[in-house]
């Protein structure tokens, strides 16, 4: 049984990592390839059935996205085996989401990253750059990919590590994605947040009146809520890097004033529930590693 419906925005995390790795073609001192893969994490690229997804499959496989994820997760001590899968999720074309999704399946302990989801992001990305010149095609795709991968990793950690979750788990998984994003260097942080913003700002919120409340019965927040949450945690965790995002009016001033407190709360939660499972030396190496190409960092 699927753990959650597609967590589209955050899902780009792993992918972003992978893309970054792929972009960094040479194994330098800071190359991701020098980090040992997590021994508890297996990977598999399943060839798609649909011919139109073949190019996405070949691109991701050649980019070694899952191999990067294996290494990004290296610092995490997992009590069970985790399988990372890239696959076509809707080969029979009978799913309501058309497979444009990503999941963590707690029963199988698998993270599924669907080719359809990545293909959808590639299709929706700006041709070159957004009209305001702020978000490039590469950043929107990679950022969303990494964010989604981190989001699903959040679900996985909550489950495998028996993390107490008082709030809504989908929001908690978004928070995990935001927090891990800030573990990268500032350039990668910006790319991931740009991917968040681009993806969520494309989706319109449902009308909010209670009379139309069925639309608000989902266990995910609305697109706007998720965008503001991601922006707020980024700003709260690194005001210097993300001041520009606030100055552009993407985050209301009233919310921005509260972001440092929100981030402090998230930091406390991470430190108390996740950090005991993390190898600090390996984590420091992950933070210094080049995961993205120069094009993806623009």
């Amino acid at each position: 049984m699927r753990h959650a419906r597609a967590a589209r925005l955050p899902a780009l995390l792993f992918f972003g990592l992978a893309v970054c790795a792929a972009a960094g073609t040479k194994a330098t001192a800071d190359s991701w390839e020098l980090i040992p893969p997590n021994p508890q994490v297996g990977i598999e690229y399943r060839p798609p059935v649909s011919p139109q997804l073949e190019s996405v499959y070949q691109y991701l496989k050649g980019r070694k996205v899952l191999e990067e994820m294996q290494r990004f997760l290296a610092p995490l001590h997992l009590p069970h085996h985790l399988e990372l899968l890239m696959l076509e999720c809707d080969p029979n074309h009978d799913r309501p989401d058309h497979g444009e999704n990503a999941f963590y399946d707690p029963d199988a302990r698998e993270i599924w990253l669907c080719y359809e989801f990545i293909a959808g992001d590639i299709k929706a990305a700006p041709q070159t750059v957004t009209p305001d010149g702020f978000i490039t095609r590469e950043a929107s795709i990679v950022g969303d990919l990494i964010g989604t991968a981190l989001h699903e990793s959040g679900h996985m950690m909550f489950h495998m590590l028996d993390v107490p979750v008082f709030g809504r788990e989908e929001d908690a998984a978004d928070e995990m994605a935001s927090y891990l994003a800030l573990k990268f260097n500032k350039d990668i942080e910006r790319t991931i947040v740009k991917g968040f913003v681009y993806f969520w700002s494309r989706n319109k919120d449902p009308p909010s009146e209670v009379r139309g409340r069925t639309l608000f019965s989902d266990y995910h927040g609305t697109s706007s809520q998720r965008m503001y949450n991601a922006l707020c945690l980024a700003y709260g965790g690194d005001k210097e890097t993300f001041q520009e995002f606030v100055d552009r009016g993407w985050l209301p001033k009233e919310r921005a004033e509260h972001c440092a407190q929100e981030f402090a709360q998230l930091k406390l939660a991470f430190e108390k529930t996740i950090e005991p499972y993390i190898d600090e030396d390996l984590m420091a190496r992950v933070g210094k590693t080049d995961w993205l190409t120069p094009e993806e960092l623009k």
Partner: protein, 316 residues
């Protein structure tokens, strides 16, 4: 499950302390701005007699305070709530909680705002403005005296538990994953489900009806707010209730119940509710239960906080 029910009773006691005094809130008349749906006197509709204040241990770390309002329109609320010793009852109910620092819970004016964000080390505040709003919105939306009483009491209880949850998160340094305001809602709902069937049905549905009454249309930057839209909170509360007890709350899912006054949880959400509830229960047991004195908790649990005839009869 037993330990969770006992633990939750501690916080739930707070709510029942308040709910045990229907007239504390219901004998308020709507404000002049409200358009009363009926002219019935609320006091006459509510259960008029309140039981004697239960004899419970006091919590040395918890102080309560009624700050006299400067705005005359809040004076009746001040008088009613303080006369009924609502906050003192809350104080007694929280006695089993072993807090590392003193906490003040107060009823106060908030400068026109419905709520003020809890700040670490500061008092937990229930605003007169919110109480006034609860009364006004309820009166605009229903003429049914039982339903008015149910919604007002339940929503006041929710406000108190919500603020108490914020303070507990802070004072116990609880790791909170997920938006804190939603987490406070989930803890409040969890506690409400521990009251026993009758009170759980009344409080959960009362809060849900208030969210339904609100009809606040959210647009644009509204979604940047710390609190979730009322329509999301509506489903979050119903889902916690259904997840806690699918038998008692069976009417919240599945085939629509003819004549029901409460909305239903869509199937795709309903199948997840038991897991949502268990997630909160496990988090509560792991992070809050260790700070609860089991002997005092037993006394609180044994206390008759809410008499059957004090539960408004608006449940479906």
């Amino acid at each position: 499950m037993a330990s969770a029910r006992i633990a939750a009773t501690i916080l739930a006691g707070v709510a029942s302390l308040i709910a045990a005094q229907p007239s504390a809130l219901a004998d308020e008349t709507p404000s002049a701005q409200a358009t009363p749906a009926a002219q019935a006197t609320p006091a006459a509709e509510a259960t008029p007699s309140a039981p004697a204040t239960p004899s419970t241990p006091t919590a040395a770390q918890i102080d309560v305070k009624y700050e006299p309002p400067t705005d005359p329109k809040f004076q009746p609320i001040f008088e009613a709530v303080s006369r009924r010793k609502v906050l003192e009852r809350l104080q007694g109910f929280l006695a089993p909680l072993r807090l590392p620092k003193p906490l003040t819970i107060r009823l106060a004016e908030c400068g026109g705002a419905d709520t003020v964000p809890y700040q670490s080390g500061e008092p937990a505040t229930i605003c007169y403005e919110l109480v006034r709003k609860i009364i006004d919105i309820t009166y605009r939306n229903t003429n049914d005296p039982n339903e008015r009483a149910q919604v007002i009491y339940a929503t006041f209880v929710e406000a108190a538990l919500h603020q108490a949850a914020y303070a507990v998160f802070d004072l116990l340094q609880v790791p909170v994953w997920g938006r804190e305001d939603d987490a406070a809602d989930r803890v409040a709902a969890f506690v409400m489900t521990q009251f026993g069937d009758q009170v759980a049905v009344s409080t959960i549905l009362g809060v849900a009806k208030f969210f339904e009454y609100s009809q606040h249309a959210w647009t644009g930057a509204d979604f940047a707010e710390l609190a979730s839209p009322e329509s999301q909170r509506f489903y979050n509360y119903l889902c916690m209730a259904y997840g806690a007890d699918p038998l008692t709350f069976h009417f919240l899912a599945g085939a629509p119940v003819p004549g029901s006054k409460i909305g239903q949880i869509p199937d795709f959400r309903a199948v997840r509710c038991e897991r949502e509830f268990d997630q909160v229960r496990q988090a509560f047991n792991l992070r809050i239960m260790p700070y609860i004195d089991p002997d005092l908790m037993t006394k609180v649990r044994a206390t008759q906080w809410l008499m059957p005839d004090e539960v408004p009869g608006g449940a479906e």
